[in-house]
Each structure stands twice: as structure tokens, then as C-alpha cells.
């Protein structure tokens, strides 16, 4: 076998979105040699797609807001399945993280008094989302990118795919992967690893996720023995584009509703009056998504099977100023002028609440030396995430993960990937390029598509035991077929070959989603079981944890940390306490 490119560092950060870059900044500031690995180019990560803003209780617009209300809103939005300590840390620290972003040159819209402007968002008690137009994610990622570049200390490896985390049985020692550009293998020896690989939506047909959302991080962590939490909770964003077909799933920001957009059915009725008369369009995402779904099912959908989202009443100038990228997106992709026509929208897979089980203080996973931050980690959002809480999440826990990983690296000996690991991994990863075992081999793109339909149809917004089992057996079948994947061409920038790797990750993660969803026999947050339509108070006390049991996947209920009395009191601060409690 060939000699791989070998690199050594204290902290290896996998993923270069907001969480990864924030972690890398923290690790370099702590004096650790840091490598950042990304599947794409720097600054292209999924964070750029975040539009609405960063939820932080600055109280610039609504002075009554403070971290306690933010804490309460987030806990109630997550149906109290959240890790309360994570939420507490988050609500506290996100305020500083936003200001820190500003001190790094990030720009936000301003209030007349010169503070950071904040806008209303679904299920937030007050106007809380710090934003800049509808491209807050881009601002965040560019600011972090500039900061990371300015420190100049982190070594950024662009277009590298890591395929395996290596443990020596006690702790993480590094990772193995390959360079996408030429297919050469890389071995990275690291004392600590921060996973910041984001979420996984690509196993669903209609998703707002970019191609990167394949769940590599969760799959690798699972393989190396980390526990995954709350995998059943997948957020449907209520508003994704549905037409033309190529644009199906692309996100229509919640900011459209935050800025006053209305949802209509085909009969021209604002149907949210029926489902949530208090918060209307700005109800939590699970509620709005299900409402649109029910309207379509009741035969009141738009021609392409969705609802109308209408912002025309705010006037052309206002729309172009506050929602410029939405205007542009519809103009370019759908030939729709949103200042003159309503948008057609339907729910789209958007976010994964679940993920690697982490310690709230340090973001440490159950494997020593392995940390996880951002969407790949679970616990903060519980059963449903509120809009604006993910951009905050990546900053708060990205920093904490980076610092904790640096601390771990400083207190541990140098580590290195054992020689034997590489050979085995090379054989496995290169298999699809060799002659197929039988027949012509499987086309990874078609396997991917089959998986997408299996998940979309049977493990999507509405689930039953039967549909989930159907989905699970489809996954098992696809797993078998995936062993025989074959792609033509060589190792140089071969997207077919790259897709093989993605399919493997997605199959692992899909199985975890479906198995957890089967276990949670209730409807809660984003999990909507048609065969268990009610909430089950017993299951309110547990998270479902997915773990590797030998060669098979197992799921167990784990009671979560009960929220202390004095913190429970804080829940009353939310304006939505009564209805949420009910």
C-alpha cells in the first residue's frame, strides 16, 4: 500500500462550519497546534444557509428579554427533553458570543440606538434574533473565517474526507481519510478530536441540506464507540420551496414569517388560526410544518402540494431590504417575484436535533478525547429546535469544545494512529474502485436515491410502527447492496467514489434514526407518530440513546438529568408557558 500523507497535531477539528471554525479558533488561542479538515472549500459549509439570525437575549428591542426567558423558551420548545444544563450555558453565553462576533468585524442590522437589531421568530417570547438581512449565516461564517485566517495558526485542509476515527481502546488517537482532489490517503495523529461535521438531511428526498449533510461525523463517532442521543428528532422546516422540481426542498427562511408573512391554503384562508391562534405563523416549527401537512392532506394544498406564503403586504422596498436573498432566490430559481406573488412552500427536512451525546460543560463525548459541537451534537434542542438557536449553538459549544479539547490535548501524551489501521481502512475505502464482487456492481447514486425515498416516505414527517419497520428493512437491504458498490474512474476528484463513502455514513445514521423513532412510542416535538398521537409522560423522562453493541446497533432509554427545582421555576418566564405545559 502507498505511503500516506501524515500530519500530527494537538487538536484535530473535523468540519469547518461555524462550530468547527469557532472550535479551531479556541484551540489555537489556547496554544494548541490545530488542524481543521473540511470536505469542501473553506467558507462553503452549511452555516452559510442559515438565514434568520442568532437568538441571544440582548434585550435591545424588547428590554424585558433576558437569558432566563431564552432558557425557558428553548426548554419548552424542546418539550423539556433538552439537557437543561446545556440550555442554561447556552442562554447565558450566546450573548457574549454574539458580541464577540461583532468585535471580530461581523456586522448586524442596528437599532436606532446603535445596538444590534433583533427580530421576532417562531416560539421566542420576545424579539430576539440578531440578524443581518436574511444572510446571517454567511456573515457568521465569513467573520469566523476571517478570524481563523487572521490568527494564521490553524492548518486548514480543504477537500479532505475523513473516513475513520481511530481509538487505541482508551482514547482517540487520530483519524484516517483521503484527499478528494487526488485520492491520496491521509493519516492525522491527534491528541484530541473535535467533531463539528453538522447534521444529516441528505438521506431524505426533500431537504434544505447541502450535499455535505451526510452524517459522516455521527457515523464515525458511532463506529468508534460514542453514544448517539435523540436520533429520532429530525426537524421539518415548515417552509421549503416546492417548485420547480430542481429547487424542491431549498429553504425559505422563517424570517419571511418573522417579518410578517402569512400562510394561506388554496382556499385563501390563513389556516394557522385553527392550529395555533396565539402564535399563528410564528408557532414552533413542528406545529407549523404539521399544519401545512394537514392542510395539504385535507385537499387544501397548492397545485404542487404545499401552502402559500405571502409577504406582499410588506411592500416591495421593505422586502428587498429585509429579505434580499429570498427575493433573489425565488427570482432566479422559480421566476417568482415575491413582492408581487405569493411563494409556494412545503415542509422540508432541515435540522437534526439529535446527535452525539455530550457533556454539557465540555462537549466531550463518551469516548475520551472526542468532542462534538454544533448540529452533530445532541442535547441542546430536545425534541424541537427553535429558529435562531443553531447559530448560537455552534458559537457557544464550538468554543467550549475547542477549549476542552485543547485542555485534554495539553494533559495527555502524544498519540499516533497504529500502522495496521491504515491498511484495513484503505482496502475498505478503495473497494468500490476495484472490480465489483458480483455483476456490474451497485450505482451509489441510485442507492442514495433509494435510501432517500425510504426515509422520506416511511420515516418522514408522519411515522407509524409499520412505516418505520418498512424503512428499517429497506435500510438493511440497502446495506447489503452497498457492500457491492462500484464506480468507474480513478481516485482523482471522483464524485462517484466520494458518494460511496457518503452512502455508508447515511445508512448508519438512517438506521439510528429509524431505530430510535421506533422506540419512542409517542408524539412529541418533531416526532409525530400516527399510531401514538399523544404525549406519554413516562417517555418524557427519557432520551433514547443509540450505541454500538458488537456489530449491531442498539437503542436504550436513558433517563435524563431532571431539571432542578429552581431552574424549573425559570420556565414561567416564557410567554408560552401555559400552553406548552398543557
Amino acid at each position: 500500500m502507498e505511503t500516506p500523507e501524515t500530519r500530527t497535531c494537538d487538536v484535530l477539528v473535523i468540519g469547518a462550519g461555524g462550530a468547527g471554525m469557532r472550535a479551531a479558533i479556541a484551540a489555537t488561542e489556547a496554544g494548541c497546534s490545530t488542524i481543521v479538515v473540511t470536505k469542501s472549500l473553506l467558507g462553503k459549509a452549511h452555516t452559510v444557509m442559515a438565514e434568520g439570525g442568532i437568538a441571544a437575549a440582548l434585550g435591545n428591542v424588547d428590554p424585558d428579554d433576558d437569558w432566563k426567558v431564552h432558557f425557558a423558551d428553548t426548554m419548552l420548545g424542546g418539550q423539556l427533553l433538552n439537557n437543561w444544563r446545556m440550555v442554561e450555558i447556552y442562554a447565558h453565553e450566546v450573548i457574549d458570543r454574539v458580541r464577540e462576533l461583532e468585535s471580530w468585524g461581523g456586522l448586524f442590522d442596528r437599532t436606532p440606538a446603535g445596538g444590534i437589531m433583533q427580530r421576532a421568530f417562531g416560539a421566542h417570547s420576545w424579539k430576539r434574533l440578531c440578524h443581518v438581512g436574511d444572510r446571517t449565516g454567511l456573515e457568521l461564517i465569513r467573520t469566523c473565517q476571517d478570524r481563523l485566517t487572521a490568527t494564521g495558526k490553524a492548518d486548514v485542509c480543504m477537500e479532505y474526507t475523513l473516513t475513520k476515527l481511530v481509538s487505541d481502546g482508551n482514547r482517540i488517537v487520530g483519524a484516517i481519510g483521503y484527499k478528494r482532489s487526488d485520492g491520496g490517503f491521509v493519516v492525522i495523529n491527534a491528541k484530541a478530536v473535535v467533531l463539528a461535521t453538522g447534521g444529516w438531511g441528505k438521506m431524505f428526498r426533500y431537504t434544505s441540506n447541502s450535499w455535505e449533510g451526510t452524517g459522516d461525523g455521527a457515523a464515525m463517532a458511532y463506529e468508534v464507540g460514542a453514544e448517539l442521543l435523540d436520533m429520532e428528532f429530525i426537524q421539518f422546516h415548515p417552509t421549503g420551496m416546492i417548485w420547480p422540481p430542481g429547487a424542491r426542498g431549498i429553504l425559505v427562511t422563517e424570517a419571511v414569517r418573522g417579518e410578517g408573512g402569512y400562510l394561506y391554503n388554496s382556499e385563501g384562508k390563513r389556516f394557522m388560526f385553527e392550529y395555533d391562534p396565539k402564535k399563528l405563523e410564528l408557532s414552533s416549527r413542528d406545529v407549523v410544518a404539521r399544519s401545512i401537512y394537514k392542510e395539504v392532506k385535507a385537499g387544501r394544498g397548492t397545485p404542487h402540494g404545499g401552502a402559500y406564503l405571502d409577504i406582499r403586504h410588506r411592500g416591495g422596498d421593505y422586502i428587498k431590504r429585509k429579505l434580499p436573498s429570498m427575493y433573489e432566490q425565488f427570482h432566479a430559481l422559480a421566476a417568482v417575484d415575491i413582492t408581487k406573488e405569493p411563494m409556494e412552500v412545503a415542509p422540508t427536512i432541515h435540522y437534526t436535533m439529535g446527535g452525539i451525546k455530550v457533556d454539557p460543560e465540555t462537549a466531550a463525548s463518551t469516548v475520551p478525547g472526542l468532542y462534538a459541537a454544533g448540529e452533530v451534537a445532541g442535547g441542546l434542542h430536545g425534541a424541537n429546535r427553535l429558529g435562531g438557536n443553531s447559530l448560537g449553538d455552534i458559537l457557544v459549544f464550538g468554543r467550549r469544545a475547542g477549549e476542552a479539547a485543547a485542555e485534554f490535548a495539553k494533559s495527555h501524551e502524544a498519540a499516533s494512529v497504529p500502522d495496521g489501521e491504515l491498511d484495513a481502512e484503505q482496502k475498505r475505502v478503495l473497494a468500490p474502485l476495484a472490480a465489483p464482487e458480483k455483476g456490474e456492481g451497485e450505482n451509489p447514486y441510485l442507492l442514495h436515491e433509494a435510501l432517500q425515498w425510504a426515509m422520506q416516505d416511511d420515516a418522514g414527517i408522519a411515522r407509524t410502527e409499520e412505516s418505520l419497520n418498512r424503512s428499517l428493512s429497506a435500510i438493511q437491504e440497502l446495506k447489503g447492496r452497498a457492500k457491492n458498490m462500484h464506480v468507474p474512474g480513478g481516485r482523482t476528484m471522483n464524485p462517484g467514489w466520494h458518494t460511496c463513502r457518503d452512502v455508508e455514513s447515511m445508512l448508519t445514521v438512517s438506521e439510528a434514526i429509524v431505530r430510535s423513532a421506533i422506540e419512542r412510542r409517542e408524539s412529541r416535538g418533531s416526532q409525530w407518530r400516527l399510531d401514538y398521537l399523544e404525549k406519554d409522560p413516562e417517555q418524557a423522562k427519557v432520551n433514547y440513546v443509540t450505541y454500538r453493541n458488537g456489530d449491531s446497533m442498539a437503542v436504550k432509554p436513558v433517563p435524563h438529568d431532571p431539571i432542578p427545582k429552581e431552574k424549573e421555576e425559570l420556565l414561567h418566564h416564557s410567554r408560552f408557558y401555559e400552553e406548552k405545559k398543557a
Binding site: R99, S103, V296
Partner: protein
């Protein structure tokens, strides 16, 4: 559970939007050092199809190892830059029905070294970026900062940049004259303009813009502005204002005296 089946069909909406027509694509295939060629593919047209949809169709059904970069497919990440019919565009934003009838040619960006097919090596851009004096906050500002909307309004445009590098691709100074060492390129003047006009930034990049940046090479022919998918007025709002600032410093003795006075006055104001 017919209930579920119905439900999923509703939301999934089975119409595939095919128009019944076929569009012919001629796509550049090749790696450096080998014979490159344009390969023809026939792709069934789907309503509202963009060029990237066609490339994906080709990858899935016709040619699995056709390499192209893409991420978001929503014109927000700036990854899928290529030259469609010779015009630098984002493939995810270029609708096939907007193109003239006939074969659609897709080629990689010409300015950057080829990696494979539609993928080019854009690493140089990141090196230029790293050379720019980063954001340097004023030291004397009380926190949290108070910034007025009118102080940052013109900066939003610069911050919209998605780093698709189409401006770098089309810029004739890089594309035709290969002045990569001497000239930063449009994207980086946009970044520098964003830093220079930042109300909280304290660094002075005027000399850097002229010397390392080589702004004098720009002859303001505006192709960068023409191709920008984010509609940033790169020439008028970033490059020309930077040229004017360079003129203040290097070409205008009267202004030089005037600005010095102003700076002292400012300092005095701040001291009070």
C-alpha cells in the same frame, strides 16, 4: 395503514415536471497533462431545470465520475462556478430555459489551474485572503459597541460576497495577463473595501491596496461587476473608492494636507 400512504403521497407530490424535451450538453472532461475533450450528453429537460441539475443527472445516470464542485444548490455558497456557453456563472442559478436554443457548453473556470473536469484549484485565492491585514478593532470603543445603521449600510453589499470567484475568473488581469503575483483581484478589493470602510476598524490599508494589492492594474472594465451573482457593484463601490483613497494618499498633495489635518482634528475630538 392506508392513512400514511396517502399522506406521504400528498406531501411528496409525484409530478416530476419533465417537459418531454431533451437538452444536449457538451461538458469539458479532462485532467491536467492528458488530452481533454468535450463530451456530449443528452439530458431530459425538467421544468425550471438549472445547469447543475443537468450535471447531477449526468452523474447519476450517464457518467458517474464527472467531477464538479457544489454544496448548497441555492446560490448561497458559491461552489458551483463554471463557464456555461463561455459565460462565468453559478451553475445552480443558471436556468436552462434562459439559455439560447442548442447545445449548452459547460467548461471549468479558465483562470485557475484545472484539477479535473469542472473542478479547478482555487487555493491561490485563500493565500491572497490571508495576506490582507485583518480586521483591527479600535481600542478606545466602549463595549457593547454602538454602531449606527448609516455607518454600515454601504458595507452590507461587500459582506454579501459568497466567494464564488467568478470575478477572479473573468478579470482579464488574471485571466489573460496572469498577473497573479502582482494583483489581488476583485474579490479581495471587495474584502479590503469592507474592512477599510468598517466604522470600527483602525488599520490603514491604503498602501497595501496600492503595492501588494496592485490596484493600479485594474482598468475598471467592469467584467467582475457583470458576472457577480450577488450583484455586488464591485467596480463602482469597492475598486473605484479604493482607487480614490489611493489617489488621496499618493496623487493629491492638497488632499494629503487636508486629510492629515482632519485626522488630527478627529484625534482631538476623540480625546475630548
Amino acid at each position: 395503514m392506508t392513512d400514511t400512504a396517502e399522506a406521504t403521497t400528498d406531501i411528496r407530490h409525484t409530478q416530476d415536471g419533465r417537459t418531454g424535451r431533451t437538452v444536449r450538453f457538451s461538458v469539458f472532461r479532462g485532467v491536467p497533462g492528458a488530452q481533454a475533450s468535450y463530451v456530449t450528453y443528452d439530458v431530459p429537460e425538467v421544468e425550471g431545470m438549472v445547469v447543475l441539475d443537468a450535471i447531477h443527472y449526468i452523474q447519476k445516470n450517464l457518467d458517474m465520475d464527472l467531477a464538479c464542485r457544489w454544496n448548497c444548490k441555492a446560490a448561497k455558497c458559491g461552489s458551483c462556478s463554471a463557464e456555461v456557453n463561455g459565460h462565468p456563472v453559478l451553475m445552480c442559478k443558471t436556468r436552462v430555459d434562459d439559455l439560447p436554443e442548442g447545445t449548452v457548453t459547460v467548461a471549468p473556470m479558465k483562470t485557475f489551474p484545472l484539477v479535473k473536469d469542472l473542478v479547478t484549484d482555487v487555493s491561490r485565492n485563500y493565500k491572497v485572503n490571508a495576506a490582507i491585514t485583518p480586521f483591527t478593532p479600535r481600542k478606545d470603543e466602549p463595549t457593547p459597541w454602538k454602531i449606527q445603521q448609516h455607518d454600515i449600510e454601504r458595507l452590507y453589499e461587500f459582506r454579501k460576497c459568497i466567494e464564488c470567484f467568478l470575478c477572479m475568473d473573468v478579470c482579464h488581469i488574471l485571466r489573460n495577463h496572469d498577473l497573479h503575483e502582482e494583483y489581488y483581484g476583485p474579490r479581495y478589493f471587495v474584502r479590503m473595501a469592507g474592512l477599510e470602510m468598517h466604522p470600527m476598524d483602525d488599520a490603514d490599508r491604503t498602501d497595501e491596496i496600492r503595492t501588494a494589492g496592485g490596484i493600479g492594474f485594474c482598468n475598471i472594465t467592469k467584467c467582475c461587476t457583470d458576472v457577480c451573482p450577488e450583484h455586488i457593484h464591485i467596480t463602482d463601490n469597492a475598486i473605484i473608492p479604493m482607487k480614490e483613497r489611493v489617489a488621496d494618499r499618493h496623487w493629491d498633495p492638497i488632499r494629503r494636507m487636508f486629510t492629515k489635518k482632519k485626522q488630527t482634528a478627529n484625534a482631538a475630538d476623540a480625546a475630548e
